[in-house]
């Protein structure tokens, strides 16, 4: 209410000074860059943390980190990567930049709210970072923050660490809600003339559905965080049963740790798709553009996104097969989980069918897109193991899970991020990123992560539990520990290789080859702006009008190999090149 009412006080006006233009900016493009740079910065912290963890796992005798720090690094690594990096980057970064440009709006509908969203996000990041400096350091409860463990003495950071974490999450949720509200309303309200829902690029669809999911799912985490804070500070017993921790009976009674898990995963599972759906959308556009071919089965792709988004609210307890909940729930959640695999598989088929009979330019964004498909297929298929309750029972909480989710929601979306940055960098800066560096970085990252995570599945099959500081057990052969050392070395190389990407980004921003407005020959609106980078208000005097869908590549009879969305149809007799929503559009020849 407040922000709605105050939005009008900030009409669009020309930015006056550096401060209003780049700091307290209400321009979605500036906010997008603020979001992205903050997310990348905090992501680098998480990358360093993972390196430290890997050093412990690969070289347990090094003594570089102790058990407390190991668990703290583990927790922060997970939390940052999932929420503060990927969610923020896809929604706040790509979403902010691309939605208004792709739907032909001048800005988000609530620019002031958009600015607030970023500043809340920044504060949540700062609070999170501050937890490194509170007494006892950040929480080491694991990113799932299960009580009672998260707030009892045997866990590092059980006093201040967990409270700063919960506070930071609560602030982040406010930021994400303000942001998502903007993205959803903008898509619904600010599309330009002719931009029907079924003409939107899949990028917008992915971010749009993910934003709706964020609006519905984040409250679960918020409620859980508030309740846990009350349990930790006020002595309530929402989640805390009567327990004796570290030799002392705590003043709680009757609370249900499983209640927290239900709330957490009601958020946590949709969260996976909040990260994945934008990645699906972006990669669809990358593949279509660089294969110079329309996306295959656009309608199916849209419906798959919507169905996946809806179903993901009914699968949460597949994270809890061995949590002690009623075993009969396992039947329902196994079925719902495997059902969700069907629309997901459709998406994969449509990506590879888009490549088929295309004109595949193996540009850097295309390499990342193909890398994504390979990684995502591996991660998605191993999801079928873990969703199938009988297979999950032995594999739960082992390295198989670690390998699975790193593949499917760690590496795969990150590859899309890299591909997306390479793809849209020319629009943001007016310059191309360096091709050679990009390829080098792609090969190291793609092959490196594959070599890191593929063998890890087999450590899980062997039975190695996750979240272990050290593996001193007889059933684990020395060779498995050697494999761990190997994985660590590769991981450090991959981590170091990210410098290539950062260097490429910074160098290209100032020294890159000027790109022109539409270097890839893409059809969607953001490439048709009068200026590159787009000016304030995006479109110059008149907003564009849309006449076709976003995938008119190699239209038979057209002179160029792409037809921008702004290009009027050439008359009713020529069916080719129509968007799929027009009657008689079944243009497959």
């Amino acid at each position: 209410m407040v922000t709605v009412a105050s939005a009008d006080a900030h009409e669009h006006h020309e930015p006056q000074s550096f401060i209003t233009k780049y700091v307290w900016s209400q321009d979605h493009k500036v906010i997008a860059i603020q979001y992205s740079l903050t997310a990348i910065a905090v992501g680098l912290v998480a990358l360093v943390l993972s390196g430290l963890m890997r050093i412990q796992l690969g070289f347990p005798d090094s003594g570089l980190v102790d058990a407390s720090s190991y668990y703290q690094f583990m927790t922060l690594h997970g939390m940052i990567m999932v929420i503060y990096l990927l969610t923020a980057l896809f929604l706040g970064g790509f979403g902010n930049y691309l939605i208004p440009l792709m739907v032909g709006a001048r800005d988000m509908v609530f620019p002031y709210l958009n600015m607030l969203s970023y500043w809340f996000y920044l504060v949540s990041v700062l609070v999170l970072m501050a937890s490194f400096f509170v007494p006892d350091g950040p929480t080491g409860a694991g990113w799932t923050l299960y009580p009672p463990q998260a707030i009892t003495g045997g866990t590092p950071g059980a006093d201040w660490g967990i409270l700063t974490m919960l506070l930071s999450l609560a602030i982040f949720i406010v930021a994400a809600t303000m942001g998502s509200l903007n993205y959803v309303t903008t898509v619904l309200q600010a599309r330009t003339k002719g931009m029907t829902l079924m003409r939107m690029p899949l990028t917008v669809w992915g971010i749009f559905v993910a934003s709706i999911m964020a609006l519905l799912a984040f409250p679960a985490l918020f409620v859980a965080a508030v309740m846990m804070m009350l349990d930790a500070t006020m002595g309530t017993s929402f989640f805390m049963p009567a327990i004796i921790a570290m030799g002392q009976q705590l003043p709680h009674e009757g609370g249900s740790p499983l209640l927290f898990q239900h709330l957490f995963w009601f958020f946590g599972h949709p969260e996976v798709y909040i990260v994945a759906l934008p990645a699906f959308g972006l990669v669809s556009d990358l593949i279509s553009t660089h294969a110079r071919k329309n996306i295959f089965g656009y309608h199916m792709m849209v419906w798959a996104i919507v169905i996946i988004g809806g179903l993901s609210f009914f699968v949460w307890a597949h994270h809890m097969y061995v949590s002690g909940m009623n075993l009969s729930f396992g039947f329902f959640f196994a079925i719902s989980t495997l059902v969700i695999a069907v629309p997901t598989a459709i998406k994969v088929y449509n990506w590879i069918l888009t490549l088929w009979k295309g004109d595949i330019h193996l540009t850097v964004p295309m390499l990342y897109a193909i890398g994504f498909v390979v990684t995502f297929v591996v991660g998605g298929l191993t999801g079928l193991f873990l969703g199938n309750v009988i297979v999950d029972i032995p594999l739960a909480d082992t390295y198989f899970v670690v390998a699975h989710f790193h593949m499917v929601m760690g590496v795969a979306p990150i590859l899309v991020v890299f591909g997306g940055i390479h793809h849209w960098f020319p629009k943001v800066t007016g310059r191309m990123m360096n091709d050679t560096l990009g390829r080098l970085h792609f090969w190291i990252t793609f092959l490196g992560t594959y070599v890191i995570f593929f063998p890890m599945h087999y450590l899980g099959v062997l039975g190695m539990p996750r979240r272990y500081f050290d593996y001193d057990y007889e059933f684990i052969p020395q060779s498995a520990l050697d494999l761990n050392t190997f994985i660590t070395i590769v991981a450090l190389v991959v981590a170091a290789a990210q410098i290539l990407f950062l260097y490429n980004m910074i160098w290209s921003a100032f020294r890159g080859r000027p790109s022109g407005g539409n270097p890839w020959g893409a059809t969607s609106l953001e490439w048709q702006t009068p200026q590159t980078p787009p000016g304030h208000g995006n479109w110059g005097p008149a907003v564009p009008e849309v006449h076709r869908w976003a995938y008119d590549y190699n239209v038979p009879g057209a002179s160029a190999d792409f037809v921008p969305q702004t290009e009027p149809q050439r008359g009713p007799s020529q069916g080719h090149g129509h968007g799929p929503e027009q009657p008689g559009e079944k243009g497959h020849s």
Binding site: M1, E11, N182, T185, V223, L230, L263, P530, P533, P541
Partner: protein, 206 residues
């Protein structure tokens, strides 16, 4: 980034209202704000629904002792209903452009809403006196949590309400006032429904 930093605004005139089809302008903004508000109710509904489902799950544990709802809560409910009715009066007056009635309706809304919050606080103090502390029993914890979350949202609503009032007294144009009143009224009714649900759950399911 280089272009971005060196961007020169003089290279093009960018009048955001230059095109009638875009969302700007009072009418377009109103639709967007209305839709934005309705979308904003989604996460709120989700949050309160989750609190209620947590309540439903938690109350099956043996240590649950139902909390006797103090009579002040009934008073609160009446006050909140009154507040919502007053806002409805203001909203209809706004639709007809009757500035004076809007003012009266808004005033009534505000007074009743503040009275609601006061009554809720009274209920809290009453419970404290009786020994129903926050942490003494999960039923108590849920009562304080639910009424607290609801109250905080009403306080946020009062901030928007005061903006509406200052728009009204500050002589903003009629369209803006109508918009604000309408938005606030929807939010008010939403909070009333939420409170009735919470109240019903606390009263019947305990």
């Amino acid at each position: 980034m280089s272009h971005w930093v060196k961007y020169d605004p003089s290279r093009g005139t960018l009048d955001p209202d230059g095109d009638g089809r875009s969302w700007q302008g009072p009418a377009g903004r109103g639709r967007a704000a209305m839709r934005g508000l309705l979308i904003f109710l989604l996460p709120l509904a989700s949050m309160f629904a989750l609190v209620i489902s947590a309540y439903m799950m938690r109350r099956h544990v043996g240590d649950w002792q139902p909390i006797p709802l103090p009579w002040q809560v009934w008073l609160s409910t009446v006050l909140l209903v009154g507040s919502s009715i007053a806002f409805e009066v203001a909203r209809r007056a706004a639709a007809l452009g009757h500035i004076h009635d809007i003012r009266r309706g808004l005033l009534g809304t505000g007074v009743l809403a503040v009275a609601f919050l006061g009554s809720q606080l009274w209920a809290w103090f009453h419970l404290q006196e009786q020994g129903y502390y926050l942490a003494a029993n999960p039923a108590n914890s849920f009562f304080y949590l639910m009424s607290g979350l609801h109250g905080l949202h009403l306080i946020a609503g009062l901030v928007a309400w005061s903006k509406t009032r200052s728009a009204l007294t500050g002589g903003a144009d009629v369209a803006s006032v109508q918009l604000y009143v309408q938005l606030c009224a929807i939010y008010w009714h939403f909070l009333l429904v939420v409170w009735l649900l919470l109240f019903g759950v606390l009263f019947w399911v305990s």
